[in-house]
């Protein structure tokens, strides 16, 4: 063999050796980390995992295993499905039990088997409820309960009745509807999270006020601008205008004993917009007029011993005036004459009338007023300011602001102990209760009947308020008779 062949062969061997050098296979490892629990509550855990590698993965599934034991037997599997790209992933479960220890690990299903990340230990949180608002209201009130770690199956109870849970925001705010009331107004509020009961410190107070409709008025008479008074268990209403269109001279009586309306004999003539207070009534007009000043009546009557007694005539016009008995005196104020601020006092013992100082604002017979102790309270129909007049000194003082509807008047005001019940002004269904000791007003259950009517008469017996209602002119039908149990549920 010549040297040139040896040289070529050697060169070929070198070249083959050079180009046929082995390519070492590099194996790419995939790391899986259970990074962090980024959200943990009573039932929910949100876990962050991360796949760390330099190339795409061909994972048929990835996610997390959650188990009550470290061996991960019977785990909750949070499956996030296929995965190609490395990076972060978040898994969430909401099927955990409160105050329980769990173990969490991430997983990834690769072609060569399932790979797990590190194990984290978590303990789910305990729920708590801090308070709720509003703390009073009628059936159906929407309340908000603030707390923490409420689970999705959290239940709310008012008393022993379950409330409808509308929503739970951020597991810390429950919106629920107050269920039907029980037998008491003040009820405990309880939150049940899984099987843990949390009793709130404050109680929910149902607004009270139960209306019952009695038999309608027996005739088609609809009293407007009428008088009414009460004698024991007998309620009287009459005069005024029938349906607001013709002067009425009838007076009717309702007996609590017989539960019937009967007409009584009234020896006088019809009076429109007369005043009535206690057992006294009078004034008004004999005809209906626009300004109420035509044909004023000076009649003055008292009901006693089941009969009507005519007293000496009034010395002043008293059409559309408000009146009340206070401290052995009858007061008649405002009305259609003058500027509506004149005030007169009738001393019952002496039978003497006397003009007294004017009232601070104009009033008429529809003004909301109520009595407590030796004071009569009148509500300014324009500003809703409440002023009281002292029965002894006859001085006025400011009390507060009325929170309810005044509309065009005719709201009733009844005092029962230290509570004043008011409401049902024209076209209003609102009822309010004033704690006269604290000056705090609270809403009561609204009047459930037709608001297109006005109060024709109000009577009180045995802590029940009886209200005779006349539908407005355009509303057909007889007068309705309702009874309100102001503290009933």
């Amino acid at each position: 063999m010549d040297k040139s062949k040896i040289g070529i062969i050697s060169l070929l061997v070198v070249i083959i050796g050079f180009f046929s050098s082995c390519e070492e296979e590099t194996s790419v490892t995939t790391s899986l980390i259970t990074e962090e629990v980024i959200y943990l509550s009573g039932e929910r855990a949100r876990i962050l995992g991360r796949i760390i590698t330099t190339q795409n993965v061909e994972a048929s599934d990835h996610g997390f295993y959650i188990s009550e034991n470290e061996a991960f037997s019977q785990p909750i599997i949070v499956s996030l499905g296929e995965r190609v790209a490395p990076g972060r992933f978040i898994g969430e479960t909401s099927g955990l039990n409160i105050q329980k220890r769990y173990y969490v690990k991430s997983f990834i299903s690769l072609p060569d088997g399932i790979q797990f990340g590190n194990i984290l230990e978590i303990t789910t949180l305990s729920p708590d409820a801090f308070g709720f608002s509003p703390q009073n209201g009628p059936v159906g009130t929407t309340i908000t309960i603030l707390g923490k770690n409420f689970t999705s199956d959290t239940k709310v109870f008012v008393g022993d009745r379950q409330a409808q849970v509308l929503k739970i925001d951020f597991e810390s705010s429950i919106t629920a509807i107050v269920p039907a009331s029980g037998t008491v107004a003040l009820e405990e509020v309880k939150v049940v999270v899984q099987n843990q009961e949390i009793l709130l410190d404050d109680k929910f107070e149902y607004t009270t006020g139960k209306f019952t409709q009695l038999s309608n008025f027996p005739t088609g008479l609809k009293l407007f601008d009428n008088i009414y008074f009460q004698s024991g268990e007998e309620f009287f209403a009459g005069l005024g205008a029938n349906n607001g269109q013709s002067v009425n001279s009838q007076i009717w009586k309702y007996s609590l004993a017989t539960k019937n309306w009967t007409q009584v004999v009234f020896p006088g003539t019809g009076l429109w917009k007369a005043f009535s207070a206690g057992s006294f009534f009078g004034g008004g007009a004999r005809v209906i007029s626009q300004n109420g000043q035509s044909s004023p009546s000076s009649d003055f009557w008292k009901f006693e011993n089941n009969g009507f007694v005519k007293l000496p005539d009034l010395t002043f016009p008293a059409t559309d005036a408000v009146s009340f008995e206070l401290n052995g005196k009858l007061f008649v104020m405002g009305g259609a004459s003058g500027s509506g601020t004149d005030a007169f006092r009738y001393t019952i013992a002496t039978g003497q009338w006397q003009k007294i100082g004017n009232i601070p604002f104009a009033v008429n017979r529809t003004v909301l007023n109520f009595q407590h102790g030796n004071k009569q309270y009148l509500v300014n129909p324009v500003s809703k300011e409440i002023y009281s007049i002292d029965g002894s000194t006859e001085t006025w003082s400011f009390f507060g602001i009325y929170p309810g509807d005044i509309n065009s008047g005719s709201a009733f005001g009844v005092t029962l102990g230290d509570r004043v019940i008011t409401g049902m002004a024209n076209r209003s269904q609102e009822i309010w209760e004033l704690n006269i000791s604290t000056g705090i007003w609270v809403r009561k259950n609204s009047f459930p009947g037709n608001p297109i009517a006005r109060n024709a008469a109000t009577f009180v017996h045995d802590n029940l308020i009886y209200i005779l209602r006349s539908g407005e002119v355009q509303v057909p039908g007889p007068m309705e008779f309702w009874v309100l149990d102001p503290f009933g549920l």
């Binding site: 980024i38 990076g87 972060r88 708590d128 923490k148 951020f170 597991e171």
Partner: protein
Amino acid sequence: MLKRLVYILFLITVSCIEPYKVELPEGEQLLTVDGFVTTEPGPHSIRLTRSDTYGSVFEGLIRPVSQASVAVRDSEGNVVFLAETEERGVYETPADFRARVGISYSLLIELQNGKSYTSLPEMVNSVPEIESLSYRAIEIQTSNRLQNRVGVQIFTQFRDPSDQTNFYYWRQGRGSYVLVANPELFTLPPDHPTNPRGPAPKDCCATCYLQEQSRLQTFSVASDQDFNGLSQNLPVAFIEDDGLRFKSMYRAEIQQMSVSREAHRFLRLIDQQINLTGSVFDQPPANIRGNIISLDNPDETVLGFFIAASVSKKEVYIQRNNLEVRQTPKIIPDDCLTVRGATLDPPAGWNPDN
């Protein structure tokens, strides 16, 4: 030959210059979260906005994200709801809310479109008290050889605890200063009918107080890996002398916060980005990953960071006489009350003698 030369010259003069248009890709409107809760009394605010395409300010506006449900939840499950303020996109905690040391906090966001976001939990670590603050005037060279930047550098002295790893973040509170004017130099306006530009000295007022209305927030960050357990004296703030601030006395407030490792990293990268000078050695600008995650799409880029931190605050009164270098003072030839925001009453807590 001359003809050819003329043709060539003609061609040169009529050759067109085609302007080079830079085509910027349409930027995503990324949700941006900015805010923190601290151990100070509230309210603490979180701002939600949407980023827009980089370029002229007219190409897109940074839009506030309004009517979102925003809440801060702690590691015990307590949730505080944030209410949107009159400034759209800004949500505030109740005034009685303050973060607690040892508790971690997460920000929860639900947008109107139903998308939900959460921050990673941020642990509130204790922060060492600022023992004292000191300051000195410094002069910084600029590209303009005739005008260097002059200002005051504030140093904080504190002892770093040795038993824990600390990451510090310093911010400036709202500064306030004595505004010195020269009402005796007031002159009538040039269009005055009888005495244009004539002297008309005013009796009042030469000194007022002014609170800084809005200033770009500067901050500093540090980790204790180089000084764990040691007493420190670190420069944490620089207040530029604009010719008015240091004419008499300036009150600076330094807030020293202890933040998480992740927050420190985020702030350090932000610091790097905002200090880019445009040189070839600068790091390329980039979106910095924050700690907000979309629960609907974990790969969605959300900008910003939710920080929970404990705070130590201290004030320092900077006196003009203690400054070695100062900017040439600006003259206000008028009543100092004519400066917007100036008042005769000192700001709350003004007590330079303390």
